[in-house]
């Protein structure tokens, strides 16, 4: 495999530990947003990163039912929800609730904006750890979805019960599509192996 561009003659030329990998902003309502490792040995190849970080500023296009939506993320195209478990804790301004596993299997955010004023979007900062290891893949997610009168703040820990390296992330809503103008930015986080 050829050296990535930031290694010249074996020397790391760019010390930045966070590498911007990809960014998607929707121009129409879309069922899901997927990022995939190029797997080409380039500086964007996910196989070299310790962690991944995604910053989502998004909203559901689904308008019926309750005021909140649940944001999901599938790994490596595995859409079998029972392969994921999640522990959530979330607050709505008056109470705090914890919810586990069976209800919100691939959940990363509780309270993703859905039926609020059209300009209101919610945000979620997500971290996947040790993505190239033989471990189950653990991740944690901070979510914010205030909706001017209602709203939720959430913290989630999610595990994909599979030991494969992460090569793709598919973001979607539990119900319906992701709203036009939603955006997700993806970063890779490099380690530093020193003697």
């Amino acid at each position: 495999m050829a050296d990535p561009g930031y290694i010249v003659d074996g020397v790391l030329t760019d010390p930045e530990a966070w590498v911007a990998l990809a960014s998607t902003t929707l121009t129409s309502d879309t069922v899901s947003i997927t990022f995939t490792s190029p797997a080409d040995g380039s500086s964007l190849d996910w196989s070299q990163f310790m962690d991944l970080v995604a910053i989502s500023y998004w909203r559901s296009a689904f308008t019926t039912g309750s005021a909140y939506e649940v944001g999901w993320c599938f790994l490596n195209g595995d859409t079998t929800t029972t392969n994921y478990t999640t522990q959530l804790i979330y607050g709505d301004g008056s109470s705090v609730t914890a919810s586990a596993a069976s209800t919100y299997d691939p959940a990363i955010q509780f309270g993703t904006t859905k039926s609020a004023t059209a300009t209101i979007f919610s945000c979620c900062v997500s971290h996947w750890f040790d993505i190239n290891s033989g471990k189950f893949k653990s991740s944690v997610h901070q979510g914010a979805g205030d909706q001017d009168g209602t709203g939720w703040v959430s913290l989630a820990a999610n595990t994909w019960m599979d030991q494969a390296a992460i090569t793709s992330l598919q973001f979607k809503m539990e119900n319906g599509s992701i709203k036009d103008e939603s955006r997700i930015d993806l970063f890779g986080v490099l380690p530093r192996m020193v003697a």
Binding site: A17, I89, T97, A98, D130, K135, V140, A157, M161
Partner: protein
Amino acid sequence: MAVMEAIATTYLEATSAAVEFTGIPQTYEHLQLRVSARDDGAGSDYSEVTLQFGPVGDVIDTGASYYNAEMRGSNTATSAEKPAATNRVRCTFISAPNADSAQFGAGIIDILDYASTIKTKEALWYGGTGFAPTYPWVAMGCGMWNGTGAIDKMSIAGYAHGSLLRGSEFTLYGWNSS
């Protein structure tokens, strides 16, 4: 100038009582420790990664100089805790032996203004372990080291200084400003 630089990664190839980062450069504004770990804490699905700090020119402080507060969720239960002063920062998010062997809890610990010589040091953390037979777990909290020395070393251990298991990984990052 890079905004976030990796200072060092430790990836345990064997069980270890502790991981230490020493000679931490004083050139950053803040530190971030990213963790994927499990320990040998007996009889539990979740556990703690714990931190102790040492100032420039002195040893790691192992006294009752640390204060913690946290809130957490497990299944349908919420809880909070603010224990008395203790000898470590306690970050409750890693996996323990009762969890599946491939399960490693994960979290992030930000240590702010670590090079100040006039302020006590606050660590802000969050993380969790999404799968365990009975206790999935998510938590966030803080830990204060009641010392004003600039941190240039830290020791990381498991619950009550239990051992960290093979495969546990810790990477320390330095955060720059303008």
